[in-house]
Each structure stands twice: as structure tokens, then as C-alpha cells.
């Protein structure tokens, strides 16, 4: 219906319209596992006929969404749909690699990558989201590899074989996709190196923090940083690009909790996944130090940072408030009667 592009060629897959024989192939390769991944029974007897599969495909073709059959090695292996919402700027993605011979081999990731290029470049969408059964780990991994991030878990959203199951919501924004373009593994196209901090990086790190409006304090002197790194478990990573320090993250460990501080990316280098890389490296470094959780403090007004962390799976603890008292500073003397 909405089809404006009829075929899209990838490295290994071809998107094309449905054609004669697809429904029969779809019925031939069908397994109960496929039904289960769509939230249906894993154990119920029976399998669909070619005619039933044909009706399924007709439903997709008349649903008003952009849709393609997926072909690999010259045969039908599945289909995908992208429904553009009423706002005409966001889309819902659904996919089925139906032939199990093509599972676990990166086909889903390639399909998602081609679909996203179509969604963002051809259709000009702002955002693409999807909903997956939480137990569909293979699917979730491939969406993540394609750049989708988990945005939420819908608890006990549907029932399968008598058990309540969760759904996962995932989404990717156009700006995030642009930052990853050209690299199916999700690294920024430009060359970023993440490495350990060296003493000579200090002026550049301070300049970066100032450019990022971070408040500097006594802990940020070269001496304090060197002392902390030599006496406490932790790490200080910098992101280097174009020969410059463009990002930082400092990590520490306290009773199994990893803390992240000084996560900053230079304003000129944002929106290309550097903060995401730094967070990933920090989490891995925390795990290597034995931490079971990564935590951070962020300013209430800094909504951009919060959105980044939430998109990365971080949750707000509403039950905790931060309390503090300034020590040894009574110069103002307001409370000391004399």
C-alpha cells in the first residue's frame, strides 16, 4: 500500500515484495519456537498450513504499514513491517526471520540495519521503536546490536502457556542512528580511542570539564587525581579523537558499588556515541573490579544527561535523597554566636 521503494539490497539479504510461493515456504520452515517468540504457545500442537500463512501475509500487506519479504540465498526467509504512526514521524518495527537456519547468524541485525536506513533516510522518521517478549533474547540482542536501546519493561504484559510474561520496549532516535552510521557493530564511524588517563592529560581534561560546565573542586588537582588512582581501586579513562581529549570518565569502587564521576564529552563531539562508549567501558571496568552495580549522581536540571543514562538502562532512585554538611568552613560565621 504505502510501498514507495520495492527492493532494498543488503550484503546478504534482499528486501522485496511478497511473491508467489512465500506463504508455502513460510509454512514449510515454521516451528513452534517462532510462535513462542511472537508471544504464542510453545507447546500447543498443530502447525499452520500454507493457506493460513498466506492469510497472515495478506494481513501484513493490507495493514497500511511499510513491509517487505526478506530473501537470502535466493529464497524467502521472513518478513518485516514498519508502521508509521499518525504523527508521521515515528515508526513501530516488527520482524520475523521465519527460517530457523538463519537464526543466530547476524541476519536479524543486518535486516534491522537496512530497515533503519530506510526509516531514517528514505522516510525521514525521527524515532523507531519496537516491543519484544522479554524472553526473546536472540531478538533483543540483535536489536541492541542495531542500535536500539531498552526504554522499559512492561511487567506481566501477556500470558503464554499459563505464565505471565514481560514485554520489553526498545527504541532508537535518528540522531543516535546517525552517530553509528556505517558501522554495523555500533562503533562511531570516526576514530575514537578509549585509553587510561596520563598525568599529561590533566590540562586538557580540566579544559573539557570547564567546557562541559562541570564544577571543579579540590579533587580535580593533578596531585589528588594521581593520589586517588594510586591508592584506591578505580580508573580514569579518556576518549581521544583527532589527537584531542574529547571525553572523560572516572570510576571508583565502594563496597561493591561502582561509582561514575566526571562523565563528560566535549560539546563539539556529542551525539556520536562517545558517552555511550565511555559508559560501557566504565561498567566493564567496574565489573572487573568486582562491582555488581554502577551508580552515579546527576543534577536534577541536567535532563540531557538523565535521558542518556535512562537510555542506557539506568533507573532513578526516588527513595534516596542526598544530604551533606560542609565541614570546617565557618568563615561566614552566621550560626556561631559571638
Amino acid at each position: 500500500m504505502q510501498q514507495s521503494v520495492t527492493t532494498i539490497q543488503g550484503d546478504r539479504v534482499l528486501f522485496r515484495p511478497f511473491q508467489e510461493g512465500d506463504a508455502e515456504e513460510s509454512a514449510r520452515v515454521w516451528t513452534p519456537e517462532l510462535r513462542y517468540m511472537y508471544g504464542g504457545s510453545r507447546t500447543a500442537p498443530g502447525r499452520p498450513t500454507g493457506a493460513q500463512r498466506r492469510r497472515g501475509k495478506e494481513q501484513i500487506m493490507t495493514s497500511g504499514e511499510h513491509h517487505f519479504a526478506i530473501e537470502a540465498d535466493g529464497r524467502y526467509i521472513g518478513w518485516l513491517g514498519l508502521r508509521v504512526n499518525d504523527d508521521e514521524q515515528s515508526g513501530s518495527y516488527r520482524i520475523g526471520i521465519e527460517n530457523p537456519e538463519y537464526w543466530g547468524r547476524g541476519y536479524g541485525t543486518e535486516v534491522a540495519g537496512l530497515m533503519l536506513r530506510y526509516a531514517f533516510e528514505t522516510l525521514g522518521l525521527h524515532r523507531v521503536h519496537l516491543k519484544a517478549a522479554a524472553y526473546n533474547l536472540r531478538g533483543r540482542r540483535c536489536y541492541e546490536k542495531a542500535g536500539f536501546r531498552v526504554e522499559g519493561i512492561l511487567r506481566q504484559s501477556f500470558q503464554v502457556d499459563g505464565e505471565w510474561q514481560d514485554d520489553v520496549l526498545m527504541a532508537i532516535l535518528k540522531v543516535e542512528w546517525e552517530a553509528r552510521r556505517g558501522d554495523p557493530l555500533g562503533r562511531p564511524t570516526d576514530d575514537v580511542t578509549i585509553r587510561s588517563y596520563r598525568q599529561t592529560d590533566h590540562p586538557a581534561a580540566v579544559a573539557l570539564w570547564e567546557a562541559s560546565d562541570l564544577h571543579l573542586g579540590g579533587n580535580d588537582t593533578p596531585e589528588m587525581i594521581a593520589w586517588k588512582l594510586s591508592t584506591q581501586p578505580g580508573f580514569f579513562l579518556v576518549a581521544e579523537m583527532d589527537g584531542k581529549i574529547v571525553g572523560t570518565v572516572i570510576g571508583s569502587l565502594e563496597r561493591g558499588w561502582g561509582w561514575v564521576q566526571r562523565l563528560a564529552v566535549h560539546p563539539d563531539y556529542r551525539r556520536r556515541g562517545i558517552a555511550r562508549r565511555l559508559m560501557q567501558e566504565a561498567e566493564e571496568a567496574h565489573a572487573a573490579l568486582g562491582a555488581y552495580r554502577t551508580c552515579l549522581l546527576t543534577h536534577r536540571e541536567n535532563e540531557a544527561a538523565q535521558a542518556l543514562y535512562r537510555g542506557h538502562g539506568y533507573e532513578t532512585w526516588d527513595k534516596v535523597i542526598v544530604m551533606s554538611r560542609e565541614l570546617g568552613a565557618s568563615e561566614e560565621g552566621e550560626c556561631c554566636g559571638d
Binding site: D87, Q89, S90, H126, R127, H129, E151, G152, I153, L154, R155, Q156, S157, F158, Q159, W164, L169, A171, L173, A307, R310, G311
Partner: protein, 178 residues
């Protein structure tokens, strides 16, 4: 503790002019997906015809507090799953801050779980809607997701928060409040 009470009644045609006024008030629709200034009498009549003819499981109510019509709310069941989404608007600004929204939601949750036998009720809310979030949290809804730039209102992309309550959580609430 005396609980605020509201009555949920059917939406009748007489209410429509009131909705046109409310939904065009920027203050009333600030935290909703509605754009003030876009609601016409014809549009409301079409909406009324649509909800009157919709899936009978879809429920729309007028909220009446102390004999006054103060707003409306709705429960939209999923076509195949035992869950529904909830939406509410308190249009009468003099009725704000009196707990009528929470009272209406409590009544809707009772209908959803005790009468319609649903398993979960969910909604989305804009993060800036602090009062709404507090109200929903008090009624037992929990945050389940944060949807980035998921709704475009008047040219601006807004984030949304997804919240939900499960039947078992609602049941536990009933026990503890007795």
C-alpha cells in the same frame, strides 16, 4: 481517613460543549497529548459518535464530584490481552488539587480488576507532569519505562513515562487499606 469520592457516569451529549471549552484551555491540556485551540464542536461530536460505537469494552466516563461535572476518564482495553490503558482529564480548574483525579482512578482500577477481570492497567505521562506522577504513584502505579522523544507536540519532541499497576499489586492494596 475520609476518602474523597467521585461518581463515574456515562458521557452524554450535553457534556460536549464543556469538553470543547476545557480541551481548548492551554492550562488544562498542558500535560496531555491534546493541543489547545484545535478542538472544535464538530470534532467533539465525531469523537462522541466514535466512542459510542466503539468496542463495548472501551469505557468512557464523566467524572462527577459533589454533584458537579469536573472531567472525564477512559479505559481502553487491548484487543487480545488482559490489559487496558487509562487516560484522564480534570477540566474544571476549580476542582484541581482536591484528589478527584486519584478518586476517579481508584474507582476505575476497581472496575478494571474486580469487574472486568483485567491483569494490568497502564498509562503514559509526560515527565513534567509532577502532580500527575505523584497522584499515580499514590494509587500504586509504578514506572516501567522512559520513552525518549516519543511524542511530538506542537513541533517539540517530548519524552514520556510509562506507568502500570498489576492486579496482584491492586489486591495487596485493598487488603492493607481495610
Amino acid at each position: 481517613m475520609s476518602e474523597t469520592r467521585v461518581t463515574l457516569g456515562p458521557i452524554t451529549e450535553e457534556y460536549l460543549p464543556q469538553y470543547v471549552v476545557w480541551l481548548n484551555d492551554p492550562e488544562v491540556v498542558q500535560f496531555t497529548t491534546v493541543c489547545a485551540g484545535t478542538i472544535t464542536s464538530e470534532g467533539e461530536r465525531e469523537w462522541f459518535a466514535r466512542i459510542s460505537a466503539a468496542d463495548p469494552r472501551e469505557r468512557h466516563w464523566a467524572i462527577v464530584a459533589e454533584g458537579r461535572h469536573v472531567g472525564s476518564c477512559a479505559l481502553m482495553p487491548h484487543p487480545t490481552q488482559a490489559q487496558a490503558s487509562f487516560g484522564i482529564i480534570i477540566g474544571d480548574k476549580s476542582a484541581w488539587g482536591k484528589g478527584y483525579g486519584a478518586a476517579a482512578l481508584r474507582e476505575v482500577l476497581r472496575i478494571a480488576f474486580a469487574e472486568m477481570d483485567l491483569h494490568r492497567v497502564h498509562l503514559t505521562i509526560f515527565p513534567e507532569n509532577e502532580r500527575g506522577r505523584r497522584c499515580y504513584a499514590r494509587c500504586g502505579l509504578r514506572q516501567e519505562g522512559y520513552l525518549r522523544e516519543s511524542f511530538c507536540k506542537e513541533g517539540t519532541w517530548l519524552d514520556q513515562i510509562a506507568m502500570a499497576i498489576l492486579r496482584e499489586e491492586w489486591e495487596a492494596q485493598q487488603c492493607s487499606s481495610q
